[in-house]
């Protein structure tokens, strides 16, 4: 008589030999921890390869805020660069907007990530670039609209930092949910040119920044374009990655906050697939 193993509760759809811990958003597939890691990392690798995001020898800056998306991005890019020998020279690039009690704390997280993942870090501050910090601005103009304002300067500061680092490429942690949300916001605002730009995986703007520096040589891309927030958060949770999770103290949580909740509710109601946006 053969001994039968105790049946596994909710067996993994891939290996059948371990308990599933995640139900995937796209497919409903249920995966065990190891299969989830494998599938998550491989899908990002496929996005990178299929879209030809990098060339061997590229110097790539990871826009790092200390938050979940960019922390997972830094971890996974480092891992894939080693696993598949992309030959990338990775650096972390952080922007210090000068927000006491928020950015100073999140930058501590980025510094730990620098040590944990052994990736060099450059911090560029608004104070150095523009001569003022967000704390100064808020004192002057109050709290209204300063997140939109801050966002415009952050994008430009990233470009300037990329020039200082002499990188070919900036990658950011925008995920499928963020992109769907930005699309919705641009539709609400009627901003069509931006709609096109925010949905493309790789952009190369031929624009100059405010000080006339050509930034057109630097590519920007979003390796998480097809990755869901739920999986990014679950990956960070199971891998015990060190990330910062406090809302910016100046964020009124207005437009983007409502767009996000609206979108999550829509998704819940109609099980809309963010993937196809």
């Amino acid at each position: 008589m053969t001994t039968t193993a105790k049946p596994i509760r909710n067996p993994c759809n891939l290996c059948q030999s371990a308990r599933a811990i995640l139900k995937r958003p796209k497919t409903g597939q249920q995966l065990c921890k190891d299969c989830f890691y494998h599938v998550f990392e491989t899908e990002i690798h496929n996005t990178i390869v299929d879209n030809k995001l990098f060339r061997r020898g590229d110097r790539v800056a990871i826009g790092a805020s200390g938050g979940k998306d960019s922390t997972v991005l830094a971890y996974v890019l480092k891992l894939l660069n080693d696993r598949y020998s992309y030959g990338l020279d990775l650096v972390l690039l952080s922007i210090d907007e000068g927000i006491t009690g928020y950015r100073d704390d999140s930058l501590e997280t980025v510094k730990r990530n620098r040590d944990q993942y052994q990736i060099p870090l450059l911090i560029v501050s608004y104070k150095d670039l523009y001569g003022w910090s967000m704390d100064d601005i808020v004192k002057e103009i109050g709290r209204k609209n300063n997140c939109t304002f801050c966002g415009v300067f952050r994008r430009q500061a990233l470009d300037r930092g990329a020039i200082m680092l002499n990188v070919d490429h900036i990658v950011t942690g925008h995920n499928a949910d963020d992109i769907a949300e930005t699309v919705l916001m641009n539709i609400l605002r009627g901003d069509l040119p931006r709609l096109q730009r925010c949905t493309s995986i790789i952009t190369n703007d031929t624009s100059e920044d405010a000080s006339g520096i050509e930034t057109s040589k630097i590519l920007r891309s979003k390796p998480f374009k097809y990755t869901y927030e739920k999986e990014i958060v679950m990956y960070a949770y199971f891998k015990k990655l060190d990330y910062f999770s406090t809302e910016c103290i100046y964020s009124p949580n207005a437009y983007r906050g409502y767009a996000r909740v609206f979108l999550k509710d829509l998704e819940a109601l109609y099980t809309m697939r963010l993937y196809f946006v």
Binding site: I21, M234, Y237
Partner: protein, 110 residues
């Protein structure tokens, strides 16, 4: 099982969720083993737990935790003993003594 029994539950908070719960990462608590609904009573489910947490543990802004439907607000992930609650029956899951329930916010920061 008598009506007065309670279950020992370990609650964990992560991804910014702890900010709503006194900045605690872990809370060991006891919840009633049965909840009353009209004349009947039933074994405690996650739905009951969420409502119970909102009225017993939540220090501020309950609307950031519980939605109008009595579930957690969209954007909050729930794990039951280390697994996605979507694999465990979500709101209808019946709590067992010693269960570990994790709440993770996905909404904070990028």
């Amino acid at each position: 099982m008598t009506m007065s029994e309670s279950l020992a539950i370990e609650l964990q908070f992560s991804g910014g969720m702890e900010l709503l719960f006194d900045n605690k990462k872990t809370i060991h608590t006891k919840v009633p083993a049965h909840f009353r609904q009209g004349a009947d009573s039933h074994a405690v489910t996650i739905r009951d737990l969420i409502g119970w947490m909102a009225s017993h543990l939540l220090k501020e802004r309950p609307e950031l935790f519980i939605g109008p439907d009595g579930s957690v607000r969209s954007g909050i992930l729930v794990l039951v003993n280390g697994a996605d609650w979507e694999l465990e029956g979500e709101l209808e899951y019946e709590l067992q003594d010693g269960d570990e329930i994790v709440f993770i916010s996905t909404l904070h920061g990028g």
